[in-house]
């Protein structure tokens, strides 16, 4: 029983890591309807920024992670301004291929500048060790991830659904010209939304290094995972993305512990079944 709960906790913690990254994708792909295959590349930018800030510049952990989110946001905004904004009205396939091009360039860039080997991140002492919780012991870092994830879920859902910023984005996606004629600067709005999505990616990337490591192939390895989470959750629904991320984490970790010979098979079969029965995802609007 205890073992089972531990597996469950490990799965939930992994789910939170996925949610941190997929939350950003839920904004760019789900809300802005931009087929952003390069999302995990911005997460990688965050991961490398945090790891290098700590290792090379001796920045403490928390400021380094926040800095990483900022760097990822700036990188995202830059790409959006220079490249991505030209593709908002292009067919989906062109968006997919263009952003895959960005992924390849990012992999090459990371290999060239940082090196092909996997890197680790050092975390402060207060995140090492375990915290007792009744009969259980929870790894400090996992508890930290869960807290950050919950705070972020509340913050971002509130931001998108309760503020005028979120309302403006949804309005601009529904009818760009009408929104612009209401005096809203849609270009700036999109850049800001894209930066927000990338910031979340960067934050998720920075916090995930400790659990899953980081190497230049990260953007392509996690692309499939994140796409499954966002589409199973339902495009445009952060709540759905959250539920899907936790489910994904639990099914993945439990599946690998309990049926090691099946590997990811159970997970992909489950995702396929969900997408067949509900193509719009768990929380997506009825098609």
């Amino acid at each position: 029983m205890l073992g089972f709960i531990n597996i469950l906790l490990a799965g939930i913690a992994y789910g939170f890591v996925l949610f941190l990254m997929a939350g950003g994708l839920s904004i760019t792909l789900g809300l802005m309807k931009f087929a952003n295959m390069a999302h995990a590349a911005f997460a990688m930018v965050g991961g490398y920024s945090a790891a290098l800030l700590i290792a090379k510049a001796d920045v403490p952990f928390v400021p380094a992670v926040i800095g990483a989110a900022f760097i990822a946001a700036l990188t995202g905004a830059l790409f959006e301004r220079v490249l991505f904004h030209r593709f908002y009205r292009a067919p989906e396939l062109e968006q997919v291929l263009m952003t895959i091009g960005v992924v390849y360039v990012a992999i090459a860039g990371a290999t060239y500048f940082v090196g092909p080997e996997q890197i680790a991140i050092s975390v402060p002492a207060w995140l090492e060790g375990n915290v007792p919780l009744g009969v259980l012991e929870i790894n400090n870092y996992r508890a930290f991830l869960i807290l950050v994830g919950l705070a972020l879920l509340g913050g971002v859902v509130g931001f998108i659904e309760r503020t005028t910023f979120g309302a403006k984005i949804r309005a601009a996606v529904a009818n760009r010209r009408m929104t612009a004629s209401c005096g809203i600067d849609v270009d700036r709005l999109y850049t800001a939304a894209f930066a927000l999505g990338s910031a979340l990616a960067g934050l998720g990337g920075a916090l995930s290094v400790k659990l899953i490591g980081l190497d230049p192939y990260f953007p392509i390895k996690f692309l499939t995972e994140l796409l499954i989470v966002v589409s199973v959750g339902g495009l445009g629904s952060l709540g759905g993305t959250f539920v899907a991320a936790i489910l994904f984490g639990v099914v993945d970790v439990a599946g690998k512990y309990l049926f090691p010979e099946a590997g990811g098979f159970i997970l992909y079969a489950a995702a396929l079944i969900v997408l067949t029965v509900r193509p719009q995802g768990l929380a997506g609007p009825q098609l």
Binding site: A35, L83, R86, F87, A90, E92, L93, E94, V96, L97, M98, I100, G101, V102, V103, Y104, V105, A106, I107, A108, G109, T111, Y112, P116, I220, T224, L227, I228, S231, L235, E261, A262, G263, G264, F265, Y268, A269, A271, L272, L275, T276, P279, Q280
Partner: protein, 333 residues
């Protein structure tokens, strides 16, 4: 429909089935390359096989407008089927090829029931899941597939009982060439048949096709099955000519590279897949030899550049060029 209309329609259908110079040029050039680059036969065979695979995706994406992120599933299924047959004592090439196509096609038919239900972005996700699922299945059954080390011990019998597979890849080249060309002819028939017309009609305007009492779901299922079968043939060819099957044949990477080859070559032309494969495989060979990371960098830049500028890939580019040339010649005389 009046008699004149019928004549016009027949003319339009004939026009669609006409051989274009680019198609003839490719198949002639491919045959000539055997004599021009006798030391690169393995690479040339790779190009033909990758081109055949890209063409199978073209039927789906170029003609049917159905994107797939997991088409390598069918390529790999064909490869493993042919490979397993040969590794377990049945090395006859043509029947192995047919078996590869049949298994991939049957699996495609099975998944097409799911595929016919979804549209747009969900289609990408569903096909991606199909691809990942088949990959996992193969990687978790090493007793059957050889797992990470790949399927080894493939021993091929001579083609038609006559032509032994040789070390230089001469037989492999002509075998792949003949099979790919035959399947190219078959695919041409398919796209210029009423079935192919209905498929394109569905891509252009699904509502109107439905009002003509043509079932979109059925068109999709047929296209998906045909495409999966062709992908299976391509995979079987790879297994038979290289005599090894790696997990890579099923990977997400292979699905994406094939998509890239097709788009670089040009969608909806059948020959585009082959042209794209030629450029892609050749460039990859040169650039990867320098450094695999260079290749990724340039591939990324080329993709971004292509999406920013020219539409229509190589086929579109050549069409544009020949139009301009004709205009120049026209104004000169």
């Amino acid at each position: 429909m009046t008699a004149v209309d019928i004549v016009l329609v027949r003319k339009a259908i004939r026009e669609r089935a006409r051989w274009r110079s680019l198609e003839i040029a490719f198949w002639v050039a491919a045959a000539c390359s055997y004599f021009l680059f006798p030391t690169h036969l393995v690479l040339l065979t790779q190009i033909i096989i990758s081109g055949l695979f890209a063409m199978s995706l073209d039927l789906l994406l170029g003609y049917g407008g159905i994107p797939s992120f997991g088409h390598a599933a069918f390529f790999g299924l064909g490869a493993y089927t042919a490979g397993l047959l040969a590794a377990h004592g049945w090395g006859e090439p043509l029947s192995g090829l047919l078996a590869g196509g049949a298994v991939a096609g049957a699996t495609g038919l099975l998944f097409s029931i799911v595929i016919a239900r979804v549209h747009g972005a969900a289609m990408l996700m569903v096909t991606m899941c199909v691809g990942l699922l088949v990959y996992e299945a193969a990687s978790r059954t090493p007793w059957l597939t050889g797992g990470d080390t790949g399927l080894q011990g493939i021993a091929m019998w001579p083609v038609l009982g006559r032509f032994e597979f040789d070390l230089f890849g001469k037989t492999a080249f002509w075998y792949a060439y003949a099979v790919a060309f035959a399947l190219y002819l078959a695919a041409r028939r398919y796209v210029s048949s009423p079935e192919g017309l209905a498929l394109e009609g569905m891509r252009e305007n699904p509502t109107r096709i439905a009002s003509l009492a043509i079932s979109s779901a059925k068109r999709k299922m047929i296209a998906f099955t045909v495409s999966a079968t062709l992908a299976g043939f391509a995979g079987a060819l790879l297994a038979q000519t290289t005599q090894i099957v790696a997990l890579e044949t099923l990977s997400f990477d292979r699905s994406v590279s094939t998509l890239i080859m097709l788009v670089v070559g040009g969608l909806g032309s059948l020959i585009g897949g082959f042209l794209g494969a030629a450029l892609f495989v050749w460039l990859r060979d040169i650039l990867s030899a320098l450094n695999p990371v260079y290749w990724m960098f340039w591939l990324g830049l080329i993709l971004i550049g292509m999406m920013l500028s020219a539409r229509g890939g190589l086929v579109g580019g050549v069409a544009l060029l020949s139009k301009r040339m004709r205009a120049m010649i026209g104004s000169a005389t």
